[in-house]
């Protein structure tokens, strides 16, 4: 785990509040404009944030009264990648309908085009509307079963992990003397057989800069939390107070240990919806009159000045003195770009002053930012230097 708390930001639609698009400052006519996404991620980069989360399901919207229409998050992250540095790029990838093989090579490719800054937030699609759009799953029975969805996501995560390891790092030998481009003994079949899918061969994509791009999970159900304990490098949870956050941390650490993993290697981030600046409360009231948000009481909101949010980050991430001991915070700016800019320009400098942000340059990869080593391929049987001739 890194020495200072992690700080991520979620960039969704016009902001976390469903009515954010009603403010002229949100520039609602350009929400699907590629330049807007570059500008938002560059703002996060300017603030030295650790990661940006780019959420989004397959359908037109998550919330009534909100923005409709979205770009594919993984392609948006791929687009932003060459124009940014330092900040981790974590699109949501829905595992319920998409072929696991396509998921695997897309995540690996995001890692290639971002030069090691990719992560992916594994999500399931509970929505009958999305199932009807894709059309492969029978939705006559209404909503899809949460347990089954995460069991399937677990199979997808296993396939993706095997694909990421299927090429050992030195599989490409380019041996002119023998005419061999690759050492086929260092490329391994995924050979996953499950229900409802099987994947036979190796990935088409060689091992990416991070090897295994980090897995992020939003643990908003018991099944999601169990999945996270087995698979996640980063878990983000909604929590409305310190006590809930502490309970989440304890539950996660117990489940991670039960899954045979080291709790120290799984970062727990708590979500905060942030309204910043002198007009924060006024904006919140105005937008809540359009679309009331008290239907979602699970998430803590900060409405007010930068120092207050910095205090909150300190309290949640502090291990002693009654702190919640979580590993970091995901800020969900209520209105973009206003609350993102205030986070970057007003809150981050305060956090730095308090020793809650790193002072050096960002790590080169997202794994590096998270304090995770680059893992060896599970299939590597001999040290890379000992090989050579077959």
């Amino acid at each position: 785990m890194p020495p200072t708390p992690l700080l991520g930001v979620e960039l969704s639609d016009a902001g976390a509040h469903p009515a954010a698009w009603r403010l002229p400052a949100a520039d609602p006519g350009h929400l699907h404009d590629p330049a807007r996404w570059v500008s938002l991620v560059r703002a996060a980069q300017r603030g030295g944030l650790d990661l940006v989360l780019l959420p989004g399901g397959l359908g037109p919207a998550d919330v009534d009264g909100g923005v409709r229409g979205r770009l594919d998050p993984l392609l948006t992250a791929s687009f932003v990648a060459p124009l940014t540095t330092g900040v981790g790029l974590v699109p949501t990838v829905t595992t319920t309908h998409t072929e696991p093989f396509h998921v695997g090579k897309a995540v690996q490719t995001l890692d290639w085009v971002s030069r090691g800054r990719a992560g992916w937030e594994v999500a399931v699609s509970r929505s009958p509307e999305e199932a009807a759009l894709v059309g492969r799953k029978d939705v006559a029975g209404g909503a899809l079963e949460e347990e089954e969805l995460w069991a399937e996501a677990d199979d997808v995560a296993e396939v993706v992990a095997r694909m990421e390891d299927s090429w050992e790092d030195d599989a490409e030998v380019r041996d002119v003397a023998t005419g061999r481009f690759v050492d086929r003994d260092r490329i391994h079949a995924v050979a996953f057989e499950g229900d409802p899918f099987s994947v036979a061969g190796a990935s088409i994509t060689p091992r990416s800069p991070q090897g295994r791009p980090p897995v992020v999970v939003r643990a908003d159900s018991a099944a999601a939390l169990r999945f996270a304990a087995r698979r996640a490098d980063v878990v983000r949870v909604p929590a409305h107070d310190l006590a809930t956050a502490v309970a989440h941390r304890r539950a996660l650490h117990r489940l991670v240990a039960e899954a045979g993993r080291d709790p120290e290697e799984v970062a727990l981030l708590v979500e905060v919806v942030a309204w910043l600046g002198p007009d924060a409360a006024e904006r919140r009231d105005a937008l809540d009159r359009w679309t009331p948000t008290n239907t979602n009481p699970g998430t803590v909101e900060h409405v007010g000045d930068a120092a207050g949010l910095a205090d909150l980050v300190g309290a949640w991430t502090g291990g002693r003195d009654g702190g919640a001991g979580v590993d970091g915070v995901v800020v969900r700016p209520a209105v973009l770009p206003l609350d993102l800019d205030a986070l970057v320009d007003d809150v981050v400098p305060l956090l730095r002053r308090r020793g809650l942000r790193p002072t050096g340059p960002p790590a080169r990869t997202l794994r590096g930012t998270l304090g995770l080593d680059r893992p060896a391929s599970r299939y590597a049987r001999v040290p890379a230097t000992a090989g050579g001739a077959r």
């Binding site: 698009w21 403010l23 002229p24 609602p28 006519g29 929400l31 699907h32 590629p34 399901g57 397959l58 359908g59 037109p60 919207a61 409709r68 229409g69 979205r70 770009l71 594919d72 392609l75 948006t76 791929s78 687009f79 932003v80 990648a81 060459p82 998409t98 072929e99 696991p100 093989f101 396509h102 090579k105 897309a106 690996q108 490719t109 995001l110 290639w112 085009v113 030069r115 509307e129 999305e130 009807a132 759009l133 894709v134 059309g135 599989a171 380019r174 005419g179 061999r180 481009f181 690759v182 050492d183 086929r184 409802p196 899918f197 994947v199 036979a200 061969g201 190796a202 088409i204 994509t205």
Partner: protein, 459 residues
């Protein structure tokens, strides 16, 4: 009457025996910098588009991964999305199969790429049917060969309905309205067909081109019909003028039946290019490229595909096997298209050729695998390209380099200016979209018809 204009695409060197990796100048086929180099070269030369193929499974030979050619590549769409960020005008075309994808997901991804690139997306629509590739997917290899095109046509039909479900200006101005979208600006799709049932309001806005430019590559009668009905560009392998003219006349002749005209479909063969300062130097270089492509082990592997058995005991610099190929057609190579209808007859023919010319195995493979391509000085290559377009052998070419990623540097620097001097290639882009570059009209969008009729019109 002005001269017919040439259209040119840049093919990223692929996972195949065309790409020479033993050359010391050969660089990564995976790193973004390589894709960026070719894309920037193509854009500076004002080419119509960059072209990227798709991988679904690593090729196998005799039950093992084939290790003699370039292998390993990234996923098509994320690479094109990254290139959209580092180019401004170049069309971005990629191959995606219709067999192992659902229409909703593809429509959403292509609309996203069209939005991210501001109207530069092109989709090379292909089909796959074999169980070898299918083993990596839920659907497996379930589709009989003939149904590939049925599925592809219905998938395109559904994709068009999804793209057309959003109006261009669907977002209400300034967010002041009661709803984010202008009422009626997005209409649900309700498709119930033999292959797909897709219902609901699609989640991605319409791209600037409406529909991405559609490429198609099938050469069978069904493939040609699909192209004439559905495609904007047909990608062929007919590189001689005579074969090209026959194909051009055939496929363009099929357009009228679908209410389309000659300009609505561009015929672009894929072709390799080798330049020299003299014709002799160009021929020597082309010969050298062939020798690099066909190493001794590669020559043996090529013969094994026909013979259907292990031939590693043979010397690539010695004579051809005297024995005949396996009488049963045995495919030892998987993941690559080869159709040998009568292996014994072809083997006899090759043996006779080799004997008459005193060729070794390797020399024979170099000769029979040579697809020609454009070879010559910059001015002779420019003339060949211009003449082929003027005599309706094609509308231009997809240029296939031998080298990653610098293989088209010399074509861009030395051939393109000559085409511009001839007045057959643009000095600058006329518009922002790939559709503009290719001189195609707006996407066909029969939205005024009711839903049922809409499907009939789209076919």
């Amino acid at each position: 009457m002005s001269r017919r204009q040439v259209h040119l695409g840049a093919h990223f060197p692929g996972v195949n025996s065309t790409t020479v990796w033993t050359d010391p100048r050969s660089r990564s086929q995976v790193d973004l910098s390589s894709f960026e180099h070719l894309a920037r070269t193509a854009e500076e030369a004002r080419l119509d588009f960059f072209f990227l193929a798709e991988g679904l499974r690593l090729r196998e030979h005799k039950g093992e991964l084939f290790d003699l050619d370039v292998v390993g590549r990234p996923d098509t769409l994320p690479v094109l999305a990254a290139l959209a960020a580092v180019t401004e005008r170049l069309g971005l075309v990629g191959t995606i199969t219709t067999t192992f994808n659902e229409p909703y997901e593809l429509a959403r991804q292509w609309a996203t790429l069209d939005l991210l690139s501001r109207g530069r997306a092109g989709w090379n629509v292909v089909t796959s049917s074999d169980a070898f590739h299918g083993a990596n997917f839920r659907r497996g290899g379930f589709l009989p060969h003939a149904e590939r095109y049925t599925r592809a046509a219905e998938l395109l039909d559904v994709a068009r309905q999804l793209w057309d479900a959003w109006d261009d200006d669907a977002v209400a101005a300034a967010g002041a309205g009661e709803t984010f979208l202008r009422p009626g600006a997005v209409r649900p799709v309700d498709h119930r067909g033999r292959q797909f049932t897709v219902r609901g309001e699609p989640g991605t806005p319409r791209g600037p081109q409406g529909h991405p430019v559609l490429f198609q590559a099938g050469d069978s009668a069904e493939g040609r019909d699909l192209a004439a009905r559905e495609a904007d560009v047909v990608f062929t392998a007919h590189s001689t003028v005579e074969a090209g003219q026959a194909f051009y006349a055939d496929v363009k002749g099929r357009l009228a039946a679908h209410g389309r005209t000659e300009d609505d479909l561009k015929v672009l063969p894929a072709v390799t290019v080798v330049l020299g300062d003299t014709e002799a130097e160009a021929r020597d270089r082309a010969r050298h490229v062939r020798e690099q492509q066909v190493t001794g082990p590669a020559a043996i592997a090529f013969l094994e595909q026909l013979w259907g058995r292990d031939l590693t005991a043979y010397d690539p610099d010695g004579p051809l096997p005297a024995e005949d190929p396996e009488p049963e057609h045995v495919s030892v190579t998987r993941g690559r298209v080869r159709h040998h209808r009568d292996p014994a007859a072809l083997a006899r023919q090759w043996r006779e050729q080799a004997a008459a010319n005193r060729w070794s195995i390797r020399e024979l493979v170099i000769a029979v695998g040579d697809r020609g391509g454009l070879v010559g000085t910059p001015s002779s290559v420019a003339r060949q390209v211009d003449e082929a377009v003027q005599c309706r052998a094609c509308d231009g070419y997809i240029l296939v380099p031998h080298l990653t990623p610098t293989g088209l540097d010399d074509v861009a620097a030395r051939v393109v200016p000559l085409l511009q001097e001839r007045g057959v290639f643009r000095a600058d882009y006329a518009g922002p979209t790939l559709r503009d570059h290719l001189g195609l009209g707006p996407a066909r969008r029969p939205t005024t018809a009711p839903a049922d009729d809409r499907r009939l019109v789209a076919r």
